[in-house]
Symmetry: C2
Subunit: 241 residues, 2 copies
């Protein structure tokens, strides 16, 4: 381990990879996802070079990757801009997620290849949340992570790498919006119920029921997120005006 002597003013430890490109990429992604860089912000290569005290090469690499993942927009001769939340695109990403996950649960139900340990583990997590109280200030980040683990765990159980990768990418593009997906106690209960329904169906190897429950879950989430994007855009506009 070597001491990382070169760091920017915000000297938070960047867990990221070993090379500078990756560190910059991680930092940028973090700031974009946390809205620390507001949507529409111009990300000039030279400005970023100054900010990270790096040359253009690593910055370019980072921007390229973020552009591929859809977190920044690359306008041909003007530079990069922090992606604006886009309702239509978000809906479409949700649809793609739905497409992949429907297939996943259908396959899992047919194959019955889901480990019982995992099923139990998920049950243990979600069942208590059926009775969550309104004023329960549950850790939202933890909930979002658990939700991710639930969905991602299904995909992993199928063992299809391309599908897992695609879902990971979709998740990255949706995450800064999904923070708003689980907002209140009602939605937490609802989510828990839907997840448990999926688990039940998988255990019974009922593919149709699994598809139905999963579709319900994702569509509910999608609807919440649509509202959240509206709010977020409004707030951004307010800040600008």
């Amino acid at each position: 381990m070597k001491g990382v002597a070169v760091e920017n003013g915000a000297s938070e430890a960047v867990g990221g990879g070993s090379n500078l490109s990756h560190r910059i990429e991680t930092l940028l992604r973090e700031r974009i996802l946390k809205w620390s860089y507001p949507p529409g912000l111009h990300l000039g290569e030279i400005a970023l070079c100054a900010e990270f005290k790096a040359s253009r090469i690593p910055v370019r690499e980072a921007l390229r990757i973020l552009a591929e993942q859809g977190l920044v927009d690359k306008v041909p001769n003007q530079g990069c801009f922090v992606k604006q939340p886009d309702v239509e695109e978000t809906q479409q990403l949700y649809d793609m997620r739905l497409a992949l996950e429907l297939f996943v649960v259908e396959s899992l139900a047919s194959a019955g290849s889901l480990s019982l340990d995992w099923l139990k583990e998920q049950r243990v997590y979600w069942e208590p949340l059926l009775a969550v109280k309104a004023d329960d200030t549950a850790d939202r980040d933890a909930l979002v992570d658990a939700d991710t683990l639930f969905h991602f765990g299904l995909a992993e159980a199928l063992g299809n790498q391309p599908i897992c990768n695609a879902l990971r990418d979709i998740n990255a593009r949706l995450r800064f919006v999904r923070l708003a997906a689980i907002t209140n106690a009602h939605r937490i209960q609802e989510t828990a119920g839907e997840h448990l329904a999926v688990l039940d169906a998988l255990e019974k190897r009922d593919a149709e029921a699994a598809r139905r429950s999963l579709r319900q879950n994702i569509n509910h989430s999608r609807n919440k997120v649509e509202l959240a994007i509206g709010r977020a855009l409004m707030s951004v506009h307010k800040k600008r005006g």
Copy 2:
């Protein structure tokens, strides 16, 4: 300047994008897909620099993109290698394609949003192929293109950009293998029949039937490709031995 005696006579005009990275990327992809670069071939940055008379920067970019698309493997401290056809990965890509396309036809059938023009156009193309003769030396490339257009047309009709992009990527990764998918008259007839069945189901807005026919079509294709990969690998091994 080092006199590296690498002469590629391929001075053909590369239609590709305007920048060097993109041209190199296109050339490399072409050669990999055409098996002009055999699987496992080491693609050293410096060798490629010499070959394309470019500096490392564009070459790196090209290699990176190809690595992302899965056409080359990037081994941490050894460089890039032309991807070996991988039966398991191919199967998984087919599964992912199936996942996306099942959702596409299901949605299209439910929404009934497929243009009648497109339906007719596809019918006109595939119906004659039901009666193709054994010795009919149809243009295989044209058939593969038509097949691609059929499947891609469905996705486009749904208008979901992320799904279209994903399918395009999958196609790129499968293409050098799919050339072997439609091999004989029997399979051509079968394919035509399956496609027409999908079209019928979509016209009747029967989502289940559409899913069934599409699944059949893709699974048949998948099976053929599995055999083709086996043959290809065998041939490569023979050449090596």
